[in-house]
Symmetry: C2
Subunit: 341 residues, 2 copies
């Protein structure tokens, strides 16, 4: 299981994970959407070479996964762990991913851009994720000429990534701001300063399990450090708001909160049929309960893992079988019971 799911990082009571993503393209190759399979294969080899034969310690322990060689369930499984993107799956005839053993780094090849470098760490680790991404970036650049123009910066297939090509995002667990309704103010303020807020797996306004993904919208006319510092400032502010909302809940609505948390625990431990969205909601409740010391449990890692494992692709991979939606609901409940012991 991916490190960002298994390990507890800084500010883990609120920040699930930090992600830095770079969009890069190679000189002399057309963008992927007009790239033929032969050229795509050539490009893939060049990128692989640059990473694997590089002189960095980062070069080790990478697996190469070609989208065309794996099943749709396996693709979904990688998607749900954020190791590949929907776009890479759409380009499955030419798309590949280099993924390290810890699953903290994935280098997507022939996605929307030729190269997407992604670094994903548990908790709030913006600088560390940025350094990791930059190291990979340098490693590749030793062997490859990126498409770059002095005035524009890195050239990308879609203009929204032009310039730095950097997208930084943090995944936040904000149950108290959600329960108290203050989340709407947070969302509005984030939008006003040019940040995007999405649900888990970018599913619009459907904030499953009170999880909110905050990322920069602007990549052009701003330095990488400014992007990171913006996200960092906003995240620290939201963390403070969420903690204060949790304190208030604990002081003014303790028994109600306790009841909610324990009921969710009882249902998760006992249900025989469970939808994804209900599971996300219940897991969120229990995490809040653990964070507030209402429920004794050292299973935070298991709950984080579950957040991914209960997704359709991971679930089918876990049970190594194709499952209809109603069968998934049954197997999901079973998996949860097994994991919670």
């Amino acid at each position: 299981m991916a490190k960002w799911l298994k390990e507890i990082g800084p500010h883990a009571d609120i920040v699930v994970s930090t992600r830095v993503r770079l969009a890069r393209n190679i000189e002399g190759f057309p963008f992927p959407h007009i790239l033929n399979e032969e050229k795509a294969e050539e490009l893939k080899k060049i990128v692989m070479e640059s990473v694997i034969s590089g002189n960095s310690t980062l070069q080790n322990h990478f697996n190469i996964i070609s989208m065309k060689d794996i099943s749709q369930i396996e693709r979904l499984n990688y998607l749900e762990k954020y190791l590949v993107s929907p776009d890479l799956i759409r380009h499955s005839n030419i798309g590949s991913a280099l993924i390290n053993k810890e699953e903290t780094i994935s280098i997507l090849i022939n996605e929307e851009d030729h190269i997407r470098v992604q670094c994903l760490l548990p908790g709030l680790q913006l600088e560390k994720a940025w350094d990791l991404a930059q190291n990979i970036d340098d490693l590749i650049e030793e062997k490859i000429n990126y498409s770059y123009e002095e005035e524009l910066g890195y050239l990308t297939a879609c203009p929204t990534n032009l310039g730095t090509g950097v997208r930084v995002s943090v995944m936040l667990h904000l149950p108290a701001l959600s329960l108290t309704g203050h989340i709407n103010g947070v969302l509005k303020a984030s939008g006003q300063i040019g940040l995007a807020v999405r649900g888990i797996y970018g599913e619009g306004t459907d904030f499953l399990g009170h999880l909110y993904q905050i990322s920069n919208q602007v990549t052009l006319g701003i330095t990488e450090q400014e992007i990171i510092s913006n996200i960092s400032d906003v995240t620290m502010q939201i963390i403070q708001n969420e903690r204060s909302a949790r304190d208030k809940l604990l002081h003014h609505r303790k028994i109600e909160l306790e009841d909610k948390v324990f009921r969710s625990y009882g249902i998760l431990k006992n249900a025989r049929v469970m939808s994804r969205s209900e599971a996300m909601q219940l897991i969120s409740d229990i995490k809040l309960g653990i964070n507030l010391g209402l429920i004794e449990n050292n299973n935070m890692e298991i709950l984080n893992e579950l957040t991914a494992l209960i997704q359709p692709g991971c679930l089918q991979k876990y049970y190594a079988m194709e499952l209809s939606e109603s069968d998934r609901d049954i197997k999901r409940a079973q998996l949860i019971r097994e994991m919670l012991g």
Copy 2:
């Protein structure tokens, strides 16, 4: 705790308890609603004498409880165990009850009638409850002249009890007929043949915990044996219907049923706040689950006990304190967790 709550009787998968009640009055005394306290006290002594100095083995182990000497919580507690009636509590200045140790027999004095003999047994035990009531009746009649007229039978304060003065009732747990909606047919048919169907504690159409109390309406122009045999026939028919509805649920909606049962169990074991009606509902689900072999549990007696213990009076008596409604919801959840272990 009362025997009918602690022990498992015949057809206990469906029949919670059987009750036979006789209404009797004593010659030479006005009916209780126009009885002064002095006369009421005299009447009470006569009845007590007749039971306690009788020559039957039944005479032993009776406690005498005067309504005026106990708190409202204690009165409620007896009411919720069906050992006294709302009417006895309303007449608390003159009302008393002789209750045996097993709490299977209660003789109410100065209720709506001078004497109400009640026998309450676990499961379906119509004949046994009837015999018990008759023995008590005989015991009293050895010493007392009942108000009786050849043509009318026993005279009672309210004409609905005239004649035999007998009310026979069974408490049925009918979750499957409820879940499938077939209960409405049962209720209608019962009404058509002169039986009354009430919820637990006679609360109108609010069938808390899928519990249905079926009793005869008619007491005049029909023999005691006919009353018992009517109730017996109807009960056996309903038992058959409920069992067949349970079988169907088990075959066609097993996973759904299992999910419901285990969720209810998880919530009962974990909730921190619980209303009476929710508790009744969840206990009902678990009993159904145990009866269908979906959930392994030897706690049927505990669940039956809980049905009474979670009621407001029993709960306050258990914790030996007056509790507001919201405090009761918290203590109820606590008691349930303790009892389920």
